[in-house]
Every structure is written in C-alpha cells, then in structure tokens.
C-alpha cells in the first residue's frame, strides 16, 4: 500500500490540490502574523519609552535558545517527508515522533515562561504588554495546532500510507516549516527592545 502511494506521488506533474490548499492557508496565516508584528512596531513607534516604565526588558538568551530548538525540528520533519515519499511509513513515523516530542517539550517550557511573565506585567497596564502577550500567545496556538496535526499523522501512519495520507504528511510538514519560520519572526520581535 505504502509503495503504491509513493508511486502515485512521484508520477504527478503538478503539486496536488491538498498542497496548494495548505500553501494558501499558510499565506493567510502568515498575513495574520504580519499584522501582529506590524501592530507591535506601530505601537512601539507611537511610544516614547519601550517597554514602558516599570516593565523590565525582555529576556534574550532563553527565548532564542528555545526557538533554535524548535527550528531544529525542521530537520526530522524534512527527512520524515523524504522517507514517506520513498514509501517508508515506519521511518516517517519515527521521525515525526522525534519532532513531536521536542515540540511538546518546547511548548511546555514556553507556556511556563508565559505564565510567569503574566505575573510580572499585565496587558491591562500597557499596550506593550497587550501586543507582547497576544503575539506570543498566537505563536503558541500555532504550535498547539501543529502538534495536533502531527499526532493525527502519527495515528494515521500506523495503518500505512495512502495517497490521502501522503498528502497529509506533506501538508503537516509544510505547516511546520511555516510555524518555525513564524517562530523566528516572533522571537526577533519579542527580544528586539533588549538588542
């Protein structure tokens, strides 16, 4: 079954419909992050002091290291797709599992950080905190969705590859490339006042 799906995938002249659909969905999601980041700088250039008085500057090292770990999961995902397209559902499954474990760990640490920062400064008090927590929260939501998609892929791959699941694997990977790219854009915006 898996080999048949790989053959169909190779025979195609154009990207499949599912790939196009995901690419366009990602385009609209990227616009969403673009809007959030644009809002951040819009508010920043309206302010005389950024972050506002009484709010400490954002940490630099920890967010950057965490993001680097998240972005590193691009590698197993990339090879998972190659494995799937070569017809090996089992190897793809293992590589996705590696990615999802790392991403879940990342999310755990990030959520912990998020909550402890909420105790220190509140979105009630400043536009800075409002956009800060909204932007990072939006990023976390995307990580959660990405993990959910991967868990679905892992569950489906247990039954081998079909054409439908092959497209699912490629779409899940595409989505994660985007989440990782957005993570870099968000973290650079987040640490920018301390640079």
């Amino acid at each position: 079954m898996s080999a048949g799906a790989a053959r169909v995938d190779r025979r195609r002249l154009a990207q499949p419909n599912g790939w196009w659909g995901a690419a366009l969905f990602i385009a609209t999601e990227a616009t969403l992050f673009g809007t959030l980041i644009a809002t951040y700088y819009y508010l920043r250039f309206n302010a005389t002091q950024w972050p506002p008085p009484g709010v400490e500057h954002p940490k630099v090292a920890l967010p950057l290291i965490l993001t680097a770990i998240l972005v590193a999961t691009t590698v197993p995902i990339f090879f998972a797709v190659r494995a799937a397209r070569a017809g090996s559902a089992r190897l793809a499954w293992l590589l996705f599992l590696v990615a999802v474990v790392v991403q879940a760990g990342y999310l755990g640490v990030q959520v912990h950080e998020f909550l402890s920062e909420l105790d220190k400064f509140s979105p009630h008090d400043s536009a800075y905190a409002s956009i800060y927590f909204t932007m990072i929260g939006a990023h976390h939501a995307h990580v959660v969705v990405g993990i959910a998609i991967e868990l679905w892929v892992l569950w489906k791959l247990l039954g081998g590859l079909t054409n439908y699941r092959m497209i699912g694997v490629r779409v899940a990977a595409l989505y994660w490339y985007f989440v990782n790219f957005a993570a870099v854009a968000v973290v650079l915006t987040q640490v920018y006042p301390s640079l």
């Binding site: 154009a14 419909n17 508010l43 909204t134």
Partner: protein, 634 residues
C-alpha cells in the same frame, strides 16, 4: 442533449447519474458536497439576508423621509444603519457573488465536476449561515451592533458601548471570515488545478480571472480584520489596552487595520460584478471581448492596488501630509485598471451588434452607475475635497453608486442570465425589462440627490434633521427612489419565482453563450459533463467541432471517468491532464463541524470558557471523523 444517445452512451450517462446523485430529501441537502447545490444554498441564504438588509434600508429611508421623523428611535436607527451595512457587505454581496455565482459557475466554466475541496465548500456554507444567524441573534435579543459598519473605537469600546452589541459584531465577523477564507482557498485551488484539459491560463474565462483575483484579495485581506476584531474583543472582555491611549494604545490602530482589510474589500465586492459583465457582454454583442489579456490583467491589478490605498478613508484623522499625499496618489492609480476595463466593455458594445435583452440592460445600468460612482471616487482622492466632504451624504452617494449600482446590478443581471441554466426555465422578458427600469430609475432617484444634500452639509448616520436646513426635498426624493427600487427588486424576485413554475422550458444554450456551462443541459446533471470537455480557445462554445467531438467521445467512452466520483486535475499553467481524482461524496461532517464552531463562538460571547473548550474538542473530533473517509484511497 440527451436526445438520440446510442445505447452505450446512454448506459454511461445513467451510470454517472447513479454515482453522482445526492441522497433524497433534507438529509441530502445537509450532507451535500455538490457545488451546484451549495451554490443554491448560498443563493437563497444571501437573498434572505438581502431582504433583511433591504428592509433596514427602507426603515432608514422612512425615518428620513421628512424632518424630525419618528419611525425609529435614535438607538434603533443606529442599530438599523449598522446592520444595513454589515448585512449588505458581509451577508449579502460577498456570499452571493463568491458563494452563489462562484460556486455554481466556476466549476462549470472550467469544465470540472466539482470544486477542488467539496467538503470544505460545504463547510464554508454552513459556517457562513452560522455567522449570519449569530450576528442577527444580537439584533433579536436587543443587542444589535450599533457603532456603524466600520465600528470605530472609542465608540465601540467597553466604556462607551457596554452592552454585548459590539461583541456580536466583532466575534461575528471573525466567525464570518473563517467561511470566506475557506471559500477563497477553495476557489484558487479549483481555478488553478481543476481546469479542463487544454484550458491554459490564457484560455480561461475572464469570469474566472475575476474570481481568482477576489479570492487572493480575500486570503490576504481578511486576517487584518480578524486580528483587529480580536484586539477589540481582548480590549473589551479582558481589559487589554490596544486602543486605550491612556496606556499607550492608539485608536487609529483600529482604523488602520480595518481599512487595510476594508479597502481591498471594496474591490472584493466589485470584482465579481466585473466578471459577470465580461460574461454577459460578449454573449449579447455577438463578438469577442475586446482586449482580453488587458482586461484579465486589469482585474488582477485592481485587486493588487487595492492593498495600497487604505488610508484614503482616513484623510481627516490627522495623518502627516506625506502619508496622505502618498495615499492620494496611490488611489488615483486605481483609475487606470478601472478605465481599461470600462473602455473594453464600451468598445465591445459599440463594435458588436448588441441585443438588448434583460441581462444586458442590467450591465448597461451597471456601466452608467460605475461611471458616476467612479467619477465621485476620483474626487475623493483629492485630499482637500475629501476633508471637506468626509462623513457627509456625498460619501454615501459615492459608495452606493459603486456598491449598489456597480456591484449589485451585474449580480441581478447575472440572476436573469443564468436563470435558464440553473432552472431549465426561461424568465419573462417583458417583466424582466420592467424590473430593470424600475430598479434603475429608483436607484438613480434614491442615490443621486445624496450628492447634493451632501454638498449642502448633511452628515451621514444622523437619525433626523431639522426642517430649517433645506434638506427635506432631497430626502423626500431619495426615499421615493428607495421605494421604487424596492418595487423593482420585488418584481425581479416575482418574475423568477413565477418563471420557475410556469416559464417556457429553456434549451441548453438559450442566448448563444461563450463559455462551457452552456454546453451541458439546463439544469446541469449532478456530474456536470458526461464527457470532460477539451478546450482549444477562450470561447469554447463557439468551437462547434470540439463540442461535436465531445458527443462522439461519449459514444467511445473517452474522458467519461465513470469508475467513481471522478474528475480530472491538471497542471497549473498549461492545464495538461495530470491525474484523475477520486472526489469525496456527501459527508455529514462539514455541517457538524460548522455547528461546533457556532458553539465555540456562542460560548465565547457568553463567556462560558469551559463549554467553549468542550466545543473546541468536539470540533477537533469532527475534523478527525471528516478525514476518516479518504477519497483518494489508492
């Protein structure tokens, strides 16, 4: 078309019918993934909202017919005026143009059997229905949105608008944009990937170019609105400070984000009208569209430039001079692609042999109104003029000529034009012409005096005015015009309803149309085409040999694709046949997951976060069940 089929061909056609048929009854409509049925659902729903929005318009005009009117209280006027705008834009024009016309016609015009994602298509419809009912639930519980359709803060902030009226607005629009985004993605992939073999991009109907441009504009414009509404909800419900200047926020942030969405939105509204005009004009002038590639590029250019002009809605808020000058210049550039299309239509009309049937009359009405509204639009690009007349009835006049005259007239003409195709019956020509003239004269009388009363200084959105200011005769004329317009529209609906039951049977191609949808029977069978057509020019219906070849292919069983729910996919640019797709058939999960989303938004509105999480989990489960059926199973 089905006359004198050979036994082999007849057997194939019957087999296709069995494969593609929906379940009978209500259940069939709830679970359908047939683009034509979904298009009809969109049509009936958006027409119902059109009736609601029209009633609101008549209430407004009745209130303003005389000075010191007392039909509506000031609060009721605010809600009526806001809901008129919200309904007409989000619940009527967009869903009827993309949802109804696009859904029904795009797959037919490109020779496909369905949209690229049939289940997502059903999902878009049910989410649209849910969002419309959600927003109207506010009206019926006495919390109708009341801060104008663009809902400026601080008027929309919790301080000045403590009831849940604005929450219905903000959450309702986020809800609504889920539907529009899904539909837009679906259209782009359908147009890119599902075209019949041989329909390379340069042979694609201009109608599809218009819908492609609209869909791209939606994909990139809607996030700005959703983010803006999310900020507003965070401010209102959780006390964030995006729009609160006391804590470093900025009220103009709302306006900027709103118009980054809102101006592309204007072109999203009008581009389908352009697409319909470029379908109707060649048919009724018996010639090819003049400057086909220029018109195609102009359609895309309009959508693109639309993203760079948003601040011309904000000339009077105190932006820096350099900013306003840039946006004034950018706004004037829009004239170029608009004029390219306008002159292409006019040249086609003048150099062809026009047959003035009802659909063409609506298009001519559209051209007249588009010129009037376009000219007043150019005036607004001049900054001092805009600063003088912003927020007066002159603006109302301008955008009603554009949004009603130019955007809705072709939709109504399109209703007549494709009515025989959809129902298999002819409309009544005489009543059709009468409904056009009533609507045309009614619109002119309703909207033209608004220019004058605007120049006299009447501000928009006022619930009444004093008899001393001299606005009364104009307002009286506008209200009479609105009633005449309403009579014309009622006549249109009556014509179509009566014709549906009593009209003469329509042949497959009653007007000598140019595009593929006229090659199949009226109404089209569930599988659209017994043989997937092969296209060799931009006017496939005029390639008689090709269409005769389709019939012979049916005898031979070529390109019938009768093994299952099948339709071909092709390459993006050249439309070379790539693979045969096994499409999903009817599914209950789109409507179920849309119901779960409705639950999520209802719980967000009422603040039951735990219940919201339960609906979220149920939504995820229904998505899982949705993907449990794998139509492309090898």
């Amino acid at each position: 078309m089905t006359t004198a089929l050979r036994p082999d061909a007849l057997r194939r056609v019957e087999r296709l019918g069995r494969i593609w048929e929906d379940r009978p009854g209500v259940l069939g409509w709830l679970t359908t993934t047939d683009h034509k049925r979904i298009g009809l659902l969109y049509l009936f729903t958006s027409l119902a909202f059109f009736a609601a929005g029209g009633t609101e318009a008549l209430l407004i005009r009745t209130q303003l017919i005389v000075p010191n009117g007392s039909t509506l209280s000031p609060a009721a006027f605010n809600t009526t005026m806001t809901m008129h705008g919200v309904t007409m834009i989000f619940l009527f024009v967009i869903p009827i143009s993309t949802g109804a016309f696009g859904n029904y016609l795009v797959p037919l015009m490109i020779g496909a059997r369905d949209m690229a994602f049939p289940r997502l298509n059903a999902f878009s419809y049910w989410v649209f229905l849910g969002s419309g009912l959600f927003i109207y639930a506010g009206v019926f519980t006495g919390h109708g949105p009341n801060a104008g359709w663009f809902d400026y803060v601080p008027l929309a902030s919790r301080t000045y608008n403590p009831s849940s009226a604005i929450d219905f607005y903000a959450l309702g629009l986020i809800f609504n944009s889920i539907s529009s985004t899904a539909a837009a993605v679906n259209f782009i992939v359908t147009i890119f990937k599902m075209r019949a073999p041989g329909m390379s991009l340069n042979r694609m109907p201009l109608f599809c170019y218009a819908f492609l441009a609209v869909s791209f504009a939606l994909v990139f414009a809607l996030p700005a609105l959703s983010v803006d509404c999310a900020f507003l909800e965070l401010d209102r419900r959780l006390g964030f400070s995006f729009f609160d200047p006391a804590h470093g926020g900025d009220v103009l942030l709302w306006q900027n984000l709103f118009w980054i969405f809102g101006h592309p939105e204007v072109y999203i509204i009008i581009l389908p009208a352009f697409g319909i005009a470029t379908s109707i004009i060649p048919t009724f002038t018996r010639r090819r569209m003049v400057a086909f590639p220029m018109v195609a590029l102009a359609e895309i250019l309009v959508a693109f430039i639309g993203f760079g002009v948003w601040a011309h809605h904000m000339f009077s808020v105190g932006l820096s001079t350099i900013t306003t000058v840039y946006f004034a210049a950018a706004s004037m550039i829009v004239v170029i692609p608009s004029a390219i299309q306008l002159f292409a239509w006019l040249t086609t009309l003048v150099t062809g042999r026009p047959i003035f049937k009802t659909p063409l009359l609506w298009i001519i009405g559209f051209i007249v109104f588009f010129i009037i509204g376009g000219l007043s639009g150019i005036m607004f690009a001049a900054i001092p003029f805009d600063q003088q007349l912003t927020d007066t009835y002159f603006v109302v006049a301008h955008f009603h000529f554009i949004i009603f005259g130019a955007a809705v007239f072709p939709l109504l003409g399109g209703l007549y034009y494709w009515f025989p195709k959809v129902t298999g019956r002819m409309y009544h020509e005489g009543v059709g012409k009468l409904s056009f003239w009533l609507s045309f004269l009614g619109s002119a009388l309703a909207f033209f005096p608004m220019h004058i009363v605007g120049l006299l200084g009447m501000p928009r959105r006022v619930y009444t005015y004093s008899p001393q200011v001299g606005w009364a005769p104009y307002n009286l004329a506008e209200s009479i015009g609105a009633y005449i317009l309403a009579a014309g529209l009622v006549l249109l609906v009556a014509n179509l309803v009566v014709s549906y039951f009593r009209g003469a049977p329509a042949p497959a191609d009653p007007f000598g149309g140019t595009t593929l949808e006229w090659s199949t029977s009226s109404p089209p069978p569930p599988y659209n085409y017994a043989v997937i057509p092969t296209v060799t020019s931009a006017y496939p219906m005029w390639d008689v040999e090709d269409r005769e070849e389709d019939v012979r292919k049916l005898d031979r069983g070529e390109m019938v694709l009768e093994e299952g729910h099948e339709t071909p996919a092709s390459t993006v640019l050249d439309a070379n046949l790539d693979e045969v797709l096994d499409m999903p058939s009817d599914s209950p999960w789109p409507v179920v997951s849309a119901l779960m989303i409705t639950g999520i938004f209802a719980m967000l509105l009422t603040g039951h976060l735990i219940a919201m999480c339960i609906f979220l989990a149920l939504f995820a489960l229904s998505l899982g069940a949705w993907h449990g059926v794998e139509p492309q199973e090898a």
